[in-house]
Symmetry: C2
Subunit: 353 residues, 2 copies
Amino acid sequence: MKKRVCDLGELGLIEKIKSQVLHLSSDVVGIGDDCAVIGTECGESLLATTDTLIEGIHFLRETCPFFDLGFKSLAVNLSDIAAMGGTPKHALVSLSLPPEMEVDDFEEFWRGFFKLANQFQVALVGGDTTGSLRDLAISITLLGTCDPFHLKFRSGARAEDIICVTGFVGDSAAGFRLLQEKVQSFTRPGISLQDFEFLTSRHLRPLPQVEQGIWFGKRKVVHAMMDLSDGILSDLSQIMSGSRLEAVVELESLPLSHEFRRVCDHYGWPAIELALTGGEDYLLLLTVDPKEWPQLQQEYFEEFGENLHPVGQMLLGGSPRKNQPSFLKEGRIAAFLGEPFDHFSGSKRGKMK
Amino acid sequence: MKKRVCDLGELGLIEKIKSQVLHLSSDVVGIGDDCAVIGTECGESLLATTDTLIEGIHFLRETCPFFDLGFKSLAVNLSDIAAMGGTPKHALVSLSLPPEMEVDDFEEFWRGFFKLANQFQVALVGGDTTGSLRDLAISITLLGTCDPFHLKFRSGARAEDIICVTGFVGDSAAGFRLLQEKVQSFTRPGISLQDFEFLTSRHLRPLPQVEQGIWFGKRKVVHAMMDLSDGILSDLSQIMSGSRLEAVVELESLPLSHEFRRVCDHYGWPAIELALTGGEDYLLLLTVDPKEWPQLQQEYFEEFGENLHPVGQMLLGGSPRKNQPSFLKEGRIAAFLGEPFDHFSGSKRGKMK
């Protein structure tokens, strides 16, 4: 029987593409990081990233209002630029619209898009608007710039580095579950409208950490950086393989919001699993020189009024077979059997990424 | 009743977007040309263009082999860079794949893509591969560069300019018809396998005129340029409105291939209509200083071994009401009632653009 693309999965397909690349120009840092990095003659590097969102795969119209769809489809790209330490500049937007879509919804999409674009001074410079047979498809390319000395890669981590994240993990995944299951029993004890709003807004309108990314980019003590889009389990594996190191994550250190804890308690959701694999947090995941860690944490708090949360440490090792971090619980290695996210598995349909 | 996007059409939707643009950075030439043009500090302009192709709208799997799909999806973007006078450099490719798609087909797509990418030294620098529910979607962003003094716009045409095209028009449209109607009666007199192959290859594997575009870019006597993607009727209207001029096209001057004429004769297809509105020729449409026209034509022939075909002239005038060129037939104004192409009309489904 012939192999199908769902048998190979995303990483297998990328390997197939790589094997055909003949021409990789010398000014380019290849495929693999959050953005492509292109050297220019005037010193600044050009950053480029693209993401396509397809109805039914990455979002459901029932759970994602059009304003939020416009907002989030730009947010996920902004997060990629932030992850490199770059400044977002110009966007190209391709829309494929089902013919029966209402013009009001089309305008709501753009209101959401421009809400965020104006906040980060991103200019819409081009794109493409065509019809589709059934599903709405959004493809955004975002261009940015970065001083080449401020770029952060997944490959920069060093042994002993402190691994940290810039906010609470799991909120978006819980928000998605709340939306997906159309949980509306607000009167039951333990889930308030406030908790519902907090978690679902973290899912629908994540605020990309652009200023934070630029700030980290300027600091040499930050060795590696990427954005948290698929969950720590999967994303940290990228830093591990990029940097040829192992990593250990202390489960008690995972920063979990009160809202997240309350809702997981209430529904009996597996909080740790959700926090590690839920994804779509669009926070930053970075590794920091351990000697400089206390000072960075303090300066970060002074600058942004928020905590930088240490969650683990990079370690020597890193065999090609082992591509997941280890987990510590109460000082011991804990088994963790969560599945990393793959868009071909179909198990998380309707989840935007 | 609420308005639907198909009621507004592509241009109406673009107007809706424009009305929301608050931030248009000063380094950008706005929405409307074949590419976005972004000024940089090192003198060179950055060009960016994006195109999304959706199965069932822009192509049909039955009529477009995967190799050709990969080839053409890059070709249409290369043509946009060529139309500005630019040099293509870097591509980002987003694929949304139905899970049951065969890996062999996926690899064929990339073979077609890299065939053209390697020919024009375009580096694949990033992208995104995800699943789709049903249809295959391809979104390509192509980046290029251009000396800002060599850029050509739709707005540059002047009254009296000679309008010309760089090859035979209508071949692609005829090739599409041949594929669509699955015409296989090769034994009938008048349509040979050679004609079939010639016309369908012009549709499936158009060769973007990158070298020609760069060559024109360097010549001041070329005042306006764009690529022929929707057909002369629609594309010339863009130059007319961009340059606030009228235009007249001499129908007898339209360069038609022997293969095209033979097949149109055989099937009774309206050759002139197909040549004017069929689109997807991916040739260049340009306007040239009339005094310098003979010399340009001669130099072009010496450089490329092909004719530059004059098809009409730009004229003073250009009222907002009239947005189509006039047509001359045997020296008299000819009525022409063809409809310009719109992706929301649904009348040309399966046509790639």
